[in-house]
């Protein structure tokens, strides 16, 4: 069904392309990336494999207030050993006078500036989402602007086919310098190999603004349950910049997330939460910190740390980026896992849980065109 949906959108785009004047500018851009990934497993063995990807986007002129977007991500899949692809964008957006309507495969992100977001339309860590594609969905979005900074957005998405519709609504406004959003999401009931996972729903609120020299933000989420009880999740965070005498700057961001462990895997993903059922308390507290130091105009180092306050396990992720030329950049990223056995981010895991290595390193080049 998803295939037919994409084909229908593609057909419409080709139809529109045919009606575009020859003189209209059509452009292709994207990003080519090549890297070497190294993994150190729990026995100390090192595995390395190359990873290449090509992100291609078609830039088409807007025609009669209708915008078309097509972006595809091609990558080598280490699991299958061959190349695979992900259609990121394949949609039409028409701007009516009072309504913007978007139809097709599109990114749906309700980020508000945090690194973790417990109230996004599609849950998942912003910083760990990478190219998993979870933000890209077949959907219909209706966006209704109220004034320059206020709007209401309604979304019907079909992540698992048209029979299972997920929908949500989000309001956004600004008050006293704070960016405020309120949203509601209802996930469909899922039949997973005969097991019915009941429909779940959640409501969320976010705020972002300034408190003196600090940037501050927060989110509050409530996850409804069938038995009438619900789970509460909240996030608080802040960011700050400091300038050294020599003009270099360092940027800090720190946030704390509290939520029930049952909901944690939807935020961090199964890879990071393989040990959930073991020693964690019912309520989990995560702290996430990030520092970014700008060495000069072209290079920067960063350090990100995420830790479970319940068991003390931790992931340390140092990185380095250098802009080599207009379009070419060098990237180095690493992740090291610390923690006792059966803790949340520990490299060693219990039998049956998803394996996590002791460390990972990625080194590569990215070329934009």
């Amino acid at each position: 069904m998803k295939k037919y949906f994409s084909i229908a959108i593609l057909f419409i785009i080709f139809f529109l392309l045919g009606s575009i004047s020859i003189s209209a500018k059509v452009d292709i851009g994207g990003e080519l990336a090549a890297s070497l990934i190294g993994i150190i497993d729990n026995q100390g063995n090192i595995f390395a494999y190359p990873q290449e990807s090509l992100d291609l986007e078609l830039f088409l002129p807007t025609l009669n207030n209708t915008q078309t977007k097509f972006e595809i991500y091609l990558f080598n899949n280490p699991m299958s050993g061959g190349f695979d692809y992900l259609i990121k964008k394949l949609y039409l957006k028409h701007r009516f006078e009072k309504l913007h309507l978007t139809l097709g495969r599109q990114p749906i992100s309700w980020s508000f500036g945090s690194m973790l977001n417990p109230v996004d339309f599609t849950l998942g860590s912003v910083i760990m989402d990478e190219e998993t594609g979870s933000k890209y969905q077949n959907a219909i979005e209706a966006y209704y602007p109220i004034n320059w900074n206020s709007s209401i957005t309604a979304i019907a998405a079909f992540p698992n086919g048209f029979r299972n519709m997920k929908w949500g609504i989000r309001g956004r406004t600004m008050l006293e310098g704070y960016d405020l959003t309120l949203n509601y999401v209802r996930e469909p009931e899922i039949d997973s190999m005969g097991t019915i996972i009941p429909a779940n729903q959640r409501i969320g609120f976010t705020a972002k603004g300034d408190l003196g020299p600090l940037g501050v933000y927060g989110a509050l989420g409530y996850y409804f349950k069938d038995n009438g009880d619900g789970d509460l999740a909240y996030l608080i965070g802040g960011d700050y910049s400091y300038f050294f005498e020599a003009g270099n700057k360092i940027y800090f961001q720190l946030e704390y997330l509290s939520m029930k462990k049952d909901n944690l895997s939807s935020i961090l993903g199964p890879f990071f939460t393989g040990n959930l059922t073991n020693n964690l308390k019912e309520n989990v507290g995560l702290i996430l910190g990030m520092a970014n130091y700008e060495i000069d105009e072209f290079s920067q180092i960063n350090l990100m740390v995420i830790s479970s306050l319940n068991d003390g396990s931790i992931i340390v992720m140092p990185g380095y980026r250098n802009q080599l030329s207009n379009n070419l950049s060098f990237n180095l990223s690493t992740a090291i896992y610390f923690g006792k056995e059966d803790t949340l981010f520990a490299p060693n895991v219990s039998e049956g849980a998803q394996q996590k290595p002791k460390g990972m390193i990625g080194i590569g080049l990215t070329y934009s065109f």
Binding site: G177, Y240, D296
Partner: protein, 251 residues
Amino acid sequence: MRKVKGFLLIGIIMSILFSSIIIAPALEMTAEEIINKRDDNEYIISIKAEAEMIIVSGGRKITKTMLILSDKRNALIEFTNPQDRGTKFLKRENDLWMFFPDAEEIIKISGHMLNQGMMGSDFSYQDIMESDKLTDLYDFKIIGEEEIDGHPCYVLEGVAREGVKVSYYRRVSWVDKERFIGLQEELYAQSGKLLKETKLNEAQEIEGRWIPVDSVMENKLRKDTYTGFKIVQIDFNPEIPEGTFTLQNLR
């Protein structure tokens, strides 16, 4: 991101750049009159421009290109170079918003970020946002007369007015006596430290105005680094559709 004059990008550059153009040199002018004339020229109702920002550090150089649309209080900038293509900034009064093209999301930028260099340049977000008239922000006085590249200039010193929030506590400006355009400017912190210096490389007479089309900002706190700003094309007072400076237009 950068704007021509006090609104966009180059708050500073623009200050100098847009400084402007007066037709006839005055004989005995006061500092306020000189700056007012400069302000008069800088206070363009609206502009639409294509520009390049050239960031140079050591032996390396990268170029970013952009489209700029601005009025007196608001600005919209869209990057067009391959690496940043589709990234947009909306300045609305004292708030700044950024659009990330990949995820197509709009994030409000924290206030402290306004002092950071925009997209790796020596121009800060705050530079862009200072769109007030210079005479509303600073008290000026004439401190001398000098020649720059053969152009006689007034040298003026501006000190921030009490209670006014500005990026630079003090600024020294060299204003061309003939064209009333800023040829050079030094920007100081309250401690007296020189933070940045801007210089005009080229000015062109466009639609009856002398417009700085090529200028350079140097961050004096760093060695061997500067950012050039070139206006490739500019239209004054273009028709700006209603709703241009809105979040919905960022999407």
